[in-house]
């Protein structure tokens, strides 16, 4: 009996000993370790470094073993404009609960608050990033989760400003529920395939809210992109899914809600485009499906270049846009529109099947002219152009005949 008790105690003790292998280091002005650097120097793999409140002036910290860095009560790591903060080179590192501040601008190195190079399984969650050059920078990393971070950039200009979340040559990354503002690009993915970007808010970034290039097989959903200098740019990728995002008020003479260039075999579904100069700018798109998107009060809802082919637009809603569609060729078109709702549709539905009996032609004469002769835009809202438009509606000549919605919804759905 006694022997058995002893055995049990031994097991518990042994278990306890196993746990204590993930040793805890406390860092703070009145703790065993005064700085994170001291603790990092001696911590073994799987250690937990708990940093207590305070401002810690640091630069150039390296995390080269799997471990957890946990901030309690928002301790701040302040680079004072001098250099980078954390460089992660090991797998399975978790960083949470910190404030990262004032990483310095460099024109030679991409200095970041949290840098990951060639790592796997990192998790960067629930941190605050304030006034850094780059905030989170990943290169050649895999299976990383970046979530619930609050990222505020320098709000200055495109040159002396880095990106909020910058991922380069990564794979299988998850960027979720972050807020990114005031950076050059809020979230930037290049050569980063099979990743998901969901539930983020990117606003007031100097250039793009989301910048996305050569990132095949990725998905971004339920994000809000608002008031960014040029909106969102998605380029040279295929098999991309863009779903249920909001593109709001990206307004200015060079702003787009969504700029798509060289995208193939992808799906754009359930997004809302409100008050953008151009809702979606499309160049070199092939076989992309646009379904159930809403385009409300944009300057141009869709601006298409004639090298877009075999794209399908179904069940989208267009209302209150100055121009619905612009297209810069009058000869060739292989894009198809079906069952969209157009508030400018003036047809009728005699058999009451909910579809208009005459096709809707979304390319107006004035948008054709404006495309070809941009200087003539200054005549907009002039009465001559209105007159021309009326005539073109009756006797279409300039827009390609095949660019029409053969079955527009009737009556068109109301603005919401």
């Amino acid at each position: 009996m006694r022997l058995r008790m002893l055995f049990l105690v031994g097991i518990i003790a042994g278990f306890g000993h196993g746990r204590s292998a993930s040793k805890r280091f406390d860092i703070g002005w009145n703790r065993p370790f005064k700085t994170l650097r001291e603790a990092l120097a001696i911590a073994d793999s799987n250690a937990v470094l708990v940093v207590h409140p305070g401002v810690y002036p640091e630069t150039g910290l390296v995390v080269n073993k799997p471990m957890t860095l946990r901030g309690m009560g928002w301790p701040a790591l302040d680079a004072r404009g001098l250099g980078a903060l954390l460089n992660i080179t090991a797998d399975n590192v978790r960083i949470t609960g910190f404030v990262f501040k004032n990483v310095g601008v460099s024109y030679l190195k991409d200095q970041a608050a949290v840098n990951m190079t060639g790592t796997r399984g990192a998790r960067i969650d629930s941190n605050r990033f304030v006034h850094n050059f780059f905030s989170i920078y990943g290169s050649r990393s895999r299976n990383t989760r970046i979530d619930n971070n609050d990222i505020t950039g320098r709000y200055n200009n495109e040159v002396a400003n880095g990106n909020g979340v910058h991922l380069w040559q990564c794979d299988s990354m998850t960027v979720k529920n972050n807020k990114a503002r005031g950076h050059r690009d809020g979230i930037y993915l290049e050569f980063t395939g099979h990743s998901t970007v969901t539930g983020n808010l990117a606003e007031k970034n100097i250039r793009y809210g989301l910048h996305f290039m050569f990132s095949n097989g990725s998905r971004y959903a339920e994000n809000t992109f608002r008031n960014n200098g040029s909106g969102v740019a998605v380029m040279y990728s295929n098999d991309v899914r863009m779903e249920d995002n909001r593109f709001e008020h990206n307004w200015g003479s060079a702003a787009y809600g969504l700029l798509c260039k060289g995208i193939e075999d992808s799906k754009v579904r359930g997004n809302i485009f409100v008050e953008n100069t151009v809702g979606v700018f499309q160049e070199g798109l092939s076989r992309v499906q646009f379904e159930e998107n809403a385009f409300v009060r944009n300057g141009w809802a869709l601006k298409m270049v004639a090298n877009c082919d075999d794209n399908v637009y179904e069940n989208n809603r267009f209302s209150g846009n100055t121009f619905d569609v612009s297209y810069n060729s009058s000869a060739h078109n292989s894009n198809a529109f079906h069952r969209n709702s157009w508030d400018k549709y003036r047809g009728y539905d005699l058999n009451r099947d909910g579809l208009g009996d005459v096709p809707y032609r979304p390319v107006e004469l004035q948008s054709v002219l404006m495309d070809r002769y941009p200087e003539a835009l200054i005549l907009m809202r002039g009465h001559f152009l209105t007159l021309l438009n009326l005539i073109e509606k009756q006797f279409p000549a300039l827009a390609p005949r095949s660019l029409e919605d053969d079955s527009p919804l009737f009556p068109p759905r109301k603005d919401s």
């Binding site: 100069t277 003539a376 835009l377 809202r381 001559f384």
Partner: protein, 261 residues
């Protein structure tokens, strides 16, 4: 001149045409402000109405008014008052009456629906001020036409032609030139063209204050830059004033030389 102005002004305020003018603009702008989704959209719609109707009404009513004053003129020429003070008094009375009707009809609905212009006083100034200057310009044109052309029918058709030319034809011409010379940088040329037509100038000035201006691309940016500067503002004001002074001077010259029979 002052007394003529007072008499004519009060007389005009009671005239059916001015009341109808006021009522029409009032209803129109009430409707626009009631149903427009945003202040910007409302101003856009109101702008279309103003640039279309103000020139038309001023030209037609101006010529009509001058022709109908024939008896009054003949009576007054027998009195110790010069031609110029008499007719200028009428001109200012007419512009004040129509201008007042316009300002009230555009201003009351704005106040009633509490439409803020997002603190953009410039928009309000350009919209109302520009509208008033349009009245002055087109009434001066109308008087000049009426004093130059004795035959009423010809007078009316001339004012209608001028209306069509300035509201539709001029834009068509600019469009044609833009298409013809699209290989060249045209911002300055288009800008100059807009300065030369009061209707276009008013439209562009208001557009620059609306968020529609972002749609105008780099031409819009060039315009914004021009109208943003002090000299740009003065030049556009000067252009509008020239459109008032030139027909007014031509009118006065013709008036002085005219042989009333």
């Amino acid at each position: 001149m002052g007394r003529i102005f007072r008499y004519c002004f009060w007389d005009l305020l009671r005239s059916r045409f001015v009341l109808a003018y006021f009522g029409f603009f009032m209803l129109g702008s009430l409707g626009i402000f009631r149903f427009a989704p945003s202040a910007s959209a409302a101003f856009g719609a109101l702008l279309s109405a103003v640039t279309l109707l103000v020139p038309l009404c001023c030209l037609v009513f101006g010529t009509l008014y001058f022709y109908q004053s024939r008896g009054f003129h003949e009576l007054m020429f027998a009195q110790p008052i010069g031609r110029a003070p008499l007719c200028l008094g009428q001109y200012f009375a007419l512009s004040s009456a129509l201008g007042l009707a316009f300002v009230l009809a555009a201003g009351i609905p704005m106040a009633a629906y509490g439409f803020s212009t997002n603190g953009d006083i410039g928009l309000l100034a350009v919209f109302v001020g520009g509208g008033l200057l349009l009245h002055l310009a087109f009434l001066a044109l109308a008087f000049w036409i009426a004093v130059s052309i004795e035959d009423r029918l010809r007078g009316f058709s001339t004012s209608l032609l001028i209306w069509i030319a300035l509201v539709f034809g001029y834009d068509a011409l600019v469009m044609g030139l833009v298409m013809r010379f699209s290989d060249y940088p045209l911002e300055t040329g288009v800008l100059a063209a807009m300065l030369l037509n009061p209707v276009d100038l008013e439209r562009v000035l208001v557009l620059m204050h609306l968020d529609t201006s972002a749609l105008l691309g780099y031409t819009g940016a060039a315009f914004q830059k021009f109208f943003g500067t002090r000299s740009g503002t003065w030049i556009s004001l000067g252009a509008l004033s020239a459109w008032i002074l030139a027909p007014l001077l031509l009118f006065l010259r013709k008036l002085a030389r005219k042989d009333w029979q």
